[in-house]
Amino acid sequence: MGSEYSRPDPEALLRQIQEQEAHEARGRLKIFLGYAPRVGKSQRMFDEGRRRKKRGQDVVAGAIQSRGSEELDALIREFEVIPMVNDVVDVPAILQRAPQVCLLDELARDNPAGSRNAHRWEDVEEIRSHGINVVGALNLQHIREQQDTVEQITGKRAGSSVPQRFIESADEIVIVDVPTEDLKGAKLTLLNPVQLSELRELALLLAAQVVEHQLQLYMDSHGIMQSWGTQERILVCITGQSLARTMLESGARAAARFHGQLLAVTVKSGEMPRAAEEALAENLEYARRLGAEVHVLQGSDAMDEIIRFAREQRITQVFVGHTGQSSWKFWKQNPVDRLIQAAEGMDVRVFPPAPAIVPKVA
């Protein structure tokens, strides 16, 4: 699932604010993201350019791609075009012309060897560094970190790509969403409906992740600490008990279905018996195999640590094992009840005790 965004320390926060200030002097980047060719992302980009022109902004087109669509070509003719040189964006000419806004299509193009920048996305960065805003268009299959998944879906891999951090660094990202039916009907694509549907879902989830990332940065830099509960974040509390495997499997499945994050946590307090230590290590290894982010905490009161950690991590669901009488000592006084009391804003899912200590129920 996605990359990790941990809560920054004060130093990181300061760096972030400085970066943000540098960022504000730069031109803004807005990207139209499509899930497949022909969804209409270029159309949307040029529409945006037209609206900005209408509002009095100075807009030029720096990279255009004719697709033989009458409608699109007519739209492009409305703009002052700074022609590309050998299929490379003419960065010096754009900098000299110094418009407010530059439209650049096909952001993932590679430039030929010996060019000023190796990739078009680097041209974008250079143009932005001179305070010029860029509006661009890009397809999902060109985002490097998504290419493995796209290849699993379509069996094809695009030759050129941009790193995902380039997308995440954009000020704005717009998802161009079109029902797969519309593409199929127009016979515009070689992909089948299942493939298109999977690409469409992937693009939406990627966009959601970028939005969440930006929202988190915003909240961190404004000192807002809150679980927004938009993305499900599932925390599985692990001990050496065998039931941990069942809990982890449920957690992994729920995280996959919700497209959320899976975390696993255990709390150590001093020395553990060797057998327990080994069982725990095995469970943590299994957690990693299921894609969980594993955290080992230290503390004398396990439940206090878990509650604190869950709040800090904006957890929405906590999975915890039922504490049979025998293990209550470890948890202090009725810890599950304490967790339930403290779990403001999260669900607590209590799992049955490990089979060995199942009490006889009538």
Partner: protein, 360 residues
Amino acid sequence: MTRGKLKVFLGYAAGVGKTYQMLCEAQERRRQGQDVVIGYFEPHGRADTIAQTEGLEFVPRQVFEHRGARFEEMDTDAVIARHPQVVVVDEFAHTNVPGAERPKRWQDVQVILDAGVDVLTSLNIQHIDSLNDQVWHVTGIRVRETVPDWVLQEAAEVVMVDVTPRALIHRLERGVVYSREKAAKALENFFTESNLAALRELAMRQTAHQIEEKREEEHFISDRLPEPVRGLQSNLAEKILIWLTPDPSTGMLIRRGRRVADYLNSSCTAVFVSHDAAMSELSAEQKAEVEKQLNFCHNLRIQPELIESRDAAKAVTEYARAHGITQIFVTRHAPEVQKLVQLARDMQVTIVAERVRHAQ
């Protein structure tokens, strides 16, 4: 007769351009030769949007008098009598004026679909029932007009209409969406950049979820789960049971249970336990609350069962055991949560807490 197809243009706030995009599609279909009419359209004084209705036939609205005021609603019967191929119905979550045949516009739409007419409609994410608590949590606004999730799940297509929060805020500031006075208020309360970002993310995730469900349903293929998780599926079929109590947080519990069940492809049922059929142990107020919950369950297509017993936690546990339930959902304010957790040790118990908003 085949049922009409429903297509939903989903947005995350007023002004993102749902109605505009819906009308573009209506025009496109008309160009392709389909018989398209407008059943209901709310212009909000937006010139661009109004221009998109040009050349489309309007079915006259039905006029109602209510408390001395005049209200206009879609004339569902007239739409059906006209029997076009496609009808445009704006504002899917709208509540009809008292006296209209059906309380909700989405119910009118069901009738139109049953008559074999395709419907294009517009909806904002905050009106989806199961997201009600999350939307409140994010924005602090409790949305009253909601549409049950199953209605959306039955839609043939859901399209997300996206603009960035910044662009939307610009539109508001320029007075495109509301009058300037109303816009200023909206910007202060609801349309903050962080609110909008969170709602937008919800809309993206919801649309993605919808696409996935549709794909599984139409092509009988299961989700592309990550490798280690894929093999685990078969032995984990879930059955969720919601324990209803007179506590006011139960509405939130029902929504949460329904949502989790939908995501996990699990069945979802509910029980309410009382001493006797007359619920004699409850106050009139509590009875009304329970009545409301039972109705709410029906709306969300959850079948609630009534059990008579003086030991509620025990009765719920036994019911769950007898019905092969894997997970009991209960609000943490239910009177006997601890007892339930102790008794139902052979299954999972999920204690649901309300999402609390902290002052920002």
